[in-house]
């Protein structure tokens, strides 16, 4: 059985974001990058299935981007992926979800993958389009936002997360693609022996131009901060003083205190 998991490298979301020279995306200077959080769940689920199926199953991790994404690929390898594909692209952030999905589908179309895992969305762009679009292009069965997963002889049983806390139980026949939601599992931390082992695993580097066949379908014209809607008060400084101020506010509002 052949498995693929697609991962994206994104900045730490605690960062302060500023526009880059183009004005349509963030400036990467001073940002620390890590694996997209949703993709950690995708990798963990793929690795669990890989372990369950044992010999004869191959799990490949794929990422698109500049050289920095190799760090994220290495993390996925240390978590338990068998090998990796790095689609080298220094202008990945200028591509829209349709183009990213097309690149992945073009790579995957002759590889006979049985099951593809992706995160349900990225933390930075957050379109929630790439996984589903890959499935459409490959004509794979697909479901999204899964918080439960089981596999048994060509059938995938998933639980989809639905608003209000209910879940939808959905079964799919392979070949299939699932997009993973937070809480699907508990992603493992790579152990030191596995990090060492991962250094020996193969990372195949391919130029994005080999798979680039489409034009973008959306245009971003501006990257900016949201207009602050509320006239809320911002307090900062010494904790002792802050506590006094907050207590006074709560008292004034006579919400809680005498």
């Amino acid at each position: 059985m052949k498995l693929l998991v697609c991962v994206k490298q994104v900045p730490d979301m605690e960062s302060r974001f500023k526009p880059d020279a183009s004005g349509v995306w963030y400036n990467e200077a001073d940002l620390a990058f890590r694996m997209n959080e949703y993709d950690e769940y995708a990798v963990e689920q793929a690795v669990r299935l890989r372990e369950e199926l044992g010999e004869g199953t191959l799990l490949t991790v794929l990422s698109i981007g500049p050289d920095r994404v190799v760090e994220t690929i290495k993390k996925a390898l240390a978590m338990g992926c068998d090998n990796a594909v790095h689609i080298q692209d220094t202008t990945v952030s200028a591509k829209d979800p349709w183009q990213i999905a097309s690149i992945i589908a073009t790579y995957a179309q002759d590889k006979q993958f049985d099951l593809i895992f992706t995160g349900m969305q990225s933390q930075d762009r957050g379109s929630a389009q790439v996984g589903v679009t890959v499935a459409e292009l490959l004509k794979f069965s697909c479901t999204t936002t899964i918080v439960g997963f089981a596999y048994d002889s060509c059938t995938v049983t998933t639980k989809r997360e639905i608003e209000g806390g209910i879940k939808g139980v959905v079964t799919l026949k392979t070949p299939a693609l699932v997009t993973c939601q937070l809480g699907l599992n508990i992603p493992r931390y790579p152990t030191l022996p596995n990090i060492m082992k991962a250094k020996k695993k193969e990372i195949v580097a391919i130029q994005v131009t080999d798979f680039m066949t489409t034009e973008s379908r959306v245009t971003t014209t501006h990257f900016h901060s949201p207009m602050k809607k509320s006239g809320g008060i911002v307090l900062e400084g010494d904790v002792g003083e802050l506590v006094d101020k907050v207590r006074a506010i709560l008292k004034e509002k006579s919400l809680v205190l005498r």
Binding site: S127, Q129, R160, K173, R217, V218, T220, G232, V239, L242
Partner: protein, 303 residues
């Protein structure tokens, strides 16, 4: 301009968010048509044309079949825009339709400014202005971003149907976890977010809740990590609350969380990140380390 609005129906009910589609369409301008996989006896209060497939026959969740039905409707109506709610139904179906039609998709629109669509990015801390590069576009709108508008009247129903041929089967729903703690009735809720750092620190947040005579709530990452049970989760997939006082401790303010607490009368947020989106919804934002500030506030209140 013509827009097809994709309504939502679940477990015998039209979803209220469906009416936000009309609020969005009003800002877009032009005429509207609605598409719904629902029930003939539960029609939207809308005086336009409604393409209706029966959920009993076509399933409440069957994206392959719903895509097929919608594509047939698009062929008949030739719309400029196809608009979904950015929900578990919408974000699942929209990319399939956009791919099949070979058109642009813009996800989770929060506003229209000078004809450009505003969408959130970087965990809602930033915005992008996006325009489709194709003449037709698939759009999804963020829940709560546009006003709910009831056009009123009764739709002219055009019944549609098709047979399922996909390899996907919707088995059924699993109900939400029992609510041992009914946060909806609480006057004071103190919620813990990822910023509390570790499971052991939940006790510190609980202590503030206890000192105020309130209940402990939590944001999703804290529940996912197993620090607080799911029945105390506030947000889209947890409980929707409307307390007199809501204290968000180390919660960034993802839209899914905000959707569950924005009806609070008064919100106090404690976060060390001054750009955290929760700041947009808080009456008071305290920029501080939660683990320093909260115990000090609890001690002060207990005095």
């Amino acid at each position: 301009m013509k827009t097809i609005l994709i309504g939502e129906y679940r477990e015998g009910k039209m979803l209220d968010a469906t009416y936000e589609l009309f609020g969005f369409a009003r800002q877009l301008g032009g005429e509207t048509v609605m598409f719904l996989v629902g029930d003939e006896t539960v029609l939207p209060a809308y005086d336009g044309t409604l393409y209706l497939a029966e959920a009993v026959q076509c399933g409440e969740y069957n994206p392959e079949l719903h895509k097929k039905l919608l594509l047939e409707t698009v062929q008949k109506e030739n719309p400029d825009n196809i608009v979904f709610i950015h929900s578990s139904y919408g974000w699942d179906l929209a990319p399939r339709v956009a791919a099949a039609l070979k058109v642009a998709q813009v996800s989770e629109i929060v506003d229209i400014i000078d004809g450009g669509f505003e969408v959130g990015c970087c965990n809602a801390k930033m915005r992008r202005t996006v325009t489709p590069a194709t003449s037709r576009a698939v759009l999804t709108i963020q829940t709560g971003a546009f006003p709910a508008v009831q056009p009123g009247g009764t739709p002219a129903v055009i019944k549609i149907s098709s047979d399922s041929d996909g390899s996907l089967t919707f088995v059924g729903y699993e109900p939400a976890d029992k609510k041992d703690v009914d946060l909806a009735k609480a006057d004071i809720i103190v919620s813990a977010g990822r910023g509390v750092g570790k499971k052991d620190n939940i006790a510190i947040i609980q202590a503030l809740a206890t000192a105020l005579g309130g209940e402990l709530g939590a944001s999703r990452p804290v529940v996912d990590a197993g620090w607080v049970p799911h029945n105390q989760q506030v947000g889209t997939t947890g409980q929707t609350v409307s307390p007199k006082l809501y204290i968000a401790c180390g919660i960034s303010g993802a839209i899914q969380h905000v959707a569950g607490m924005k009806k609070a009368d008064f919100t106090l947020a404690i976060n060390k990140d001054r750009d955290a989106p929760i700041g947009e919804f808080a009456d008071v934002l305290v920029i501080a380390d939660v683990m320093q500030f909260v115990p000090a506030l609890t001690a002060k209140i207990a005095q």
